[in-house]
Symmetry: C2
Subunit: 195 residues, 2 copies
């Protein structure tokens, strides 16, 4: 294949990028400065070369242990369990969590053949043996995320002095009640708070 | 910046890719095989290394002259004028044009300071001296594309034996009359044909 078709093909493999978008991006790169395009190629090489999973929490990182596991300023007594490393930047953007993370590497999904052994649940149990006081389960508010949360809750229920919480469900801030789905509104009613 | 943030930044520079999408793509590349990610980086390097503008028509190509200018099977007497090289694949997909191309490299746009000297109009005039019989103006059906078409039409009006045509405007195939804008419907009426 030609260089242009080759790049269109590679870009088309990315999620949410169809052939038209891949074409548009390819011509954009061709019209721009060669330096900008090469910087993108180098940035891709760099993540492949540098980034690995943190051996403690499973976060994707250039340094092992990752910035959260190695930082003395993070509260080592609170652990937040997420499905994917990509959930961590979203939580960090909220500036409301100052503990450490544990990345499951997915969610329980029997239909896809993903069981507890495919997630880092055994590693989570080992981490909980060393002075963790609160476990915040931040799996996605989806059917599978809820099932995963319930499974973990059951696994840790025998541990004494461990508080287990789950992120609140409710109306998304800036959202519109009119367009919220019934389940979300039901959760918002169930979780309503004194003003 | 970290490798992950660096790639998110580079991807965010691409048109239509915001920070969220750049993040999603970055984690997609991290979760996939390193080989796939490296293939994308190599494909970008390859277009930067190989692709240049065709010295005859301005098409973007790995070979100069480009496949259309060098092919004996393309009708050298018909020239199709387009704004950008990226318009050519769309026309080729229609399988209705078998002549050669001329890429203007943009459109007349006085507000952006783009005048005739910024487009390859002089080169077009030189090409028209050598046995071209039909000039098909395929600039975009936008205000600026129309102005560019009108300008070229005026420039070539003194040339004898040159037929100058413009792609038809009308309802897009597969489109819905109900959602077509008034100008398009007006053009469709003006250009109506015997059944």
């Amino acid at each position: 294949v030609s260089a242009i078709d080759g790049l269109i093909q590679e870009l088309s493999r990315l999620p949410g990028i169809g052939r038209k978008t891949a074409q548009r991006l390819t011509y954009y790169l061709l019209k721009g400065s060669p330096e900008d395009s090469r910087r993108l190629a180098r940035a891709i090489d760099r993540v492949v070369d540098e980034v690995t999973a943190c051996s403690v929490c499973g976060n994707l990182t250039s340094d092992d242990p990752c910035e959260f596991c190695s930082s003395e300023r993070r509260d080592a007594s609170v652990l937040c369990v997420v499905e994917e490393a990509s959930d961590i930047p979203a939580i960090e953007a909220s500036s409301r969590f100052h503990g450490r993370y544990h990345v499951l590497g997915g969610k329980l999904s029997p239909l896809d053949g993903v069981g507890p052994d495919d997630l880092s649940i055994a590693a989570l149990m080992r981490r909980l043996e060393s002075g963790i006081q609160e476990l915040i389960i931040a799996t996605n508010p989806s059917v599978e995320g809820e099932a995963t949360a319930a499974f973990i809750h059951r696994m840790v229920s025998s541990l004494q002095d461990l508080s287990v919480t789950r992120l609140a469900r409710g109306l998304p801030v800036g959202g519109d009640l009119e367009y919220a789905d019934g389940v979300t509104i039901a959760e918002a009613f169930a979780g309503r708070r004194e003003m």
